[in-house]
Symmetry: C2
Subunit: 696 residues, 2 copies
Amino acid sequence: MFFNPNSVAIVGASQTAGKVGYEILANMIAAGYKGKLFPVNNKAETIEGLKCYPDLESISQIPDLVIIILPAHIVPSIMEQCAKIGTKSVIIISAGFKEVGQEGRKLEQRVIQIARQAGIRVIGPNCLGVIVPANHVNASFGGSLPHKGGIGYLSQSGALLAAILDTANSNGIGFSKLVSIGNKADVDELDLIKAFGEDPETRVIAGYLENIADGNDFVRAAEKISHDKPILLMKSGGTGAGAQAAASHTGSLAGSETAYEAVFERAGIIRCFSIKRQFDFAQAFANQPLPASNRVAVITNAGGPGIMAADAIERYGLEFAVLTDETMKKLAEGLPPAANVHNPIDVLGDALADKYEFAIDVVRNDPNVDAILVLLTPQAMTESTATAEAMARASNEKGDKPFFASFLGADKVAEAIRVLVDNGIPQYDSPESAVLTIKMMVNYVKWRKRPRRVVKLFAVNRRKVEMIVEKHLRQGVREIGETESKEILEAYGFVTPKGAVAATADQAAGIAQQLGFPVVMKIWSPDILHKSDVGGVRVGLKNARDVMDAFDLMMYRIPKKMPEANILGVLVQEMCGSGKEVILGMNRDPHFGPLMMFGMGGTMVEVLKDVSFYLAPLTAEEARQMLVNTKTYKILVGTRGEKGVDIDVVAEGLQRLSQLVTEFPQIQELDINPFIVGPAGITPIAVDARMSVEKI
Amino acid sequence: MFFNPNSVAIVGASQTAGKVGYEILANMIAAGYKGKLFPVNNKAETIEGLKCYPDLESISQIPDLVIIILPAHIVPSIMEQCAKIGTKSVIIISAGFKEVGQEGRKLEQRVIQIARQAGIRVIGPNCLGVIVPANHVNASFGGSLPHKGGIGYLSQSGALLAAILDTANSNGIGFSKLVSIGNKADVDELDLIKAFGEDPETRVIAGYLENIADGNDFVRAAEKISHDKPILLMKSGGTGAGAQAAASHTGSLAGSETAYEAVFERAGIIRCFSIKRQFDFAQAFANQPLPASNRVAVITNAGGPGIMAADAIERYGLEFAVLTDETMKKLAEGLPPAANVHNPIDVLGDALADKYEFAIDVVRNDPNVDAILVLLTPQAMTESTATAEAMARASNEKGDKPFFASFLGADKVAEAIRVLVDNGIPQYDSPESAVLTIKMMVNYVKWRKRPRRVVKLFAVNRRKVEMIVEKHLRQGVREIGETESKEILEAYGFVTPKGAVAATADQAAGIAQQLGFPVVMKIWSPDILHKSDVGGVRVGLKNARDVMDAFDLMMYRIPKKMPEANILGVLVQEMCGSGKEVILGMNRDPHFGPLMMFGMGGTMVEVLKDVSFYLAPLTAEEARQMLVNTKTYKILVGTRGEKGVDIDVVAEGLQRLSQLVTEFPQIQELDINPFIVGPAGITPIAVDARMSVEKI
């Protein structure tokens, strides 16, 4: 009903040009709206020749859509009228709600309460309205009706939408729908992404968001929709959540933007950092087929821009298509001798449109080419418009390979650019922007081809974890100590080093004898977080004497350094085989849930911040990808003849952890540091672990 | 004479519109050229009302500038005429020279030979010409005369220049000079950068280059000129040199672009990756004062763009200005209650131009603000043109703080944007582009403030190095072996480990006794590059028996693995104290000379490619900066209580090496790997070294 209403009532319609209540009515009329329009205004007889109604109840039929423009404090009473007459769709343009403070928030709650009870859906309040070019609906004060097109746009900023509309209108960019969601008191980004997902007119979903309300639902829906339609989002403003959670390793490494990045990656959402980039991308996705792979052919009439394109192709990690001999032979036959028939194909500065058309036709049939970028500089002989028309014919003819254009200049190529845009060929103000767009399409194709997500469930001892977690929650203890943390990990299939806490030197020696030498010793105190900083860690102790000496030295020295620490003894542990130290972790994002972390251990992780994140639950492939995404991955797989570690076993560790934090939402943070891993056949050991829980 | 000629002869002037020979003449006339024009064409009486001359000699005076448009093979004879009559400046537009192959290359050499003998300076051949708006000179076929302005532009691609001209003309961007350098057979980028440097009309030097001819001269000149005028360059195409030089560590890490990056950094050149970015930057540099520091204030009439600007400020590492209490108080007095008086200052969606003007005036006087970015979205009440005029008044009034604008939209802000551009206020199509430009200005200011370059000269034993280098050159041996490489390093003040090569196990034990235990042993063979891969390195040998065992094991095992290797014995060396391993290196770039390298040692350097480069000779500050520029710098200075290494000593090593390769240009490549460094007081050791020399 929002997008194709048969009748629209405008409550607060005004006779005064310039007023929002007039502009929306005028925009509806100017858009050529085909349904019935009911201006509601108890002080006017007619507005723009349309009969005015004193109130909603006086209208002889139930309007499909009601637009409210009256001051905020009157809106609840209008909503009650809507409920009474049975309208199901309302756009509230009026500001003065949640955005102005407590008073407004209450008003907004009241409005939504009425809507919920009556089964009314509401867009807004504090929004610009809704535009549907194909249906001649311009229920907004954002600007004149744009062209019909494949882009569905939603914006959390009305002002930005107005600017976008102005830019799009002057560049001939078309839309399926534009929605300003304002305070999104009812209809939010999730509803719209779902609606756009099902809308046959929308080929690309684009939007500007400042926050996302229902994190988990959003991820699930977006991931599904992304498969059919690319989603391009500008997301501004940090979550602020990361900073709070900086207590743990994982927390401090997960910046405020990390969760959003993980969400976007998981859901295949293409993130844009400016309006310009967003429309650069959107026009290609909306109008061109996806490239099969990443091999780009460039056709140009000047060397400079060709080299700039080549540089960008290298910089963005695409491939420069290697033309077949047949292609090059054909090109040589049809182009002047001085022309370059290798990629980038230079048709020369005096090339007319026919040479471009010929080259395009030859290159598009080359099996080594996935995407075609046509560059043009307006030189003396250049037929820019005819060249654009040739491209349009080629692009419209058959649809297996995408076309991109970068016609450089302004006035001299303005007509040509209009031809390109009208024919759905994306045009870029630099070769670099065109190449970046191709890169985004290639990334999207890769994402779509990723294997089906199957999350493996391991056999675990859930009951054991439940008991420990419940005990802590009951006692109000947030941090789970090392011993119980390890018990939890063992319940989920991790191996931890054997050992026990000794209260005396003799006891320590006895424990060591039982474990077998060498052993590791660690000071045991709830007050000492960084044990090695106070000399509280000794490794490789080879006999009973060394163990007893170490015990006594710790007991003598550490209390001097930390007189207030409560020292319970010394932990004597089996020594873990040498291997690589990595960190597995989790930090729970308030919006999106558990964010898994992987990184190399030791000081490297702190210095390089070389960690990767992904949303739980993880598939085997995703867990593996988390390893691959670190810069130090090559060290893990082994360099210069050194044997690599068992990557699958590390990935399995991440999956098991992912299962643990998914099954126990009470766990807020978790680190295994270090997790010692070796080559295939060696069981990895969770040497140290910490976690915290909270009531949910 | 190129820029302000009193008389211009056009050889090859044509009567036929569309021909280059006509277009250039027509462009000169259309530009309102004030001097005398002499069309030279022996088949026409007059062209465009101007008397035609059959040849240069028939002209009654010596033209200050001759433009040649005739076919390439005729050009040498015209050049001879130029020499005869005594013209000193020639622009050769004609193509068909070096760019078409051997034949053309010879023609070009002939042309330059004539020019050199006669003292004629030549721009071109194969170029678009020269444009000087202020002097009404449009000696080009690139397009109509652009506005007068502060940007001096040079382009190695004529076609690109034509596109730039078209874009600039339609956006009202002004230039001091535009030069198409074509094949740059005589006048090249260096000449023009120097000329622009001295030109009072040019405030910013910008250009597009595909290569740089005189590397060292270019760096020196550019560094000097950059201090007064920013240089903004697009540089496309790799040098290809890096790939060749991939034999050494340094070579393989120095990509083809590394030398250019080092040059740009040293010379303070701002690199641009697209025409759009280049003009984004150039307009600000040409028309606005430099910011004192990096604190940006944002004024907006909508929240969304304000947040986008804030995000970009954070992303680019600038600071969000914290307004003084006084500023905020004043803002609160003059703006509506709902306005945000914290940065970003939101004057609200219904703000008229006066609110903007008020806010700009208050904010510009805040001592915490270095740069002011004004954002505008065209909303119902917005007075975009009046707001632009208000900005223009503020910007013209006093010149201590730079202004930037991002008026979003198109038609609704077109007039406002014209006002901004006409008043020298740079306008950006997104807040992000504006912020990036501010970042570039801040970087430039930092570069200008860098300390004066003083290269320290160490007392060294040059004679020793001369002998070794000369011996190798005489014998035609490129690689200098480990022993002599170390002698060279010792001559330049490096300490290398003591040791000797043993031929028998007994000898090995004897050498070890003399050195003192523990020792290191390394297989000694010119054929074994990666000693440790074949078990050819043993460390920490504590007594004579271990040394003898190690000797015999190497002699037994290694020939089995590498039967063809010529094994000369085993090197027995003192064991170096533990410390951090780093690499110092040099790779000589064919254009720019010695490129110094620093990186962390071990497998890390290969995996992370965590290295930094800089052009020799190095100052102490530059050497230090090379360390700081690596990601692993924090590991060097010490993390988590671990003692850091003596940074100054490492930097001194780089300076000494820089002196060596500057004094010995024969040295082509050089690596010290590892260079073991410890905390202050510990002498670093150059454990292993290799270098290669070439006749120069």
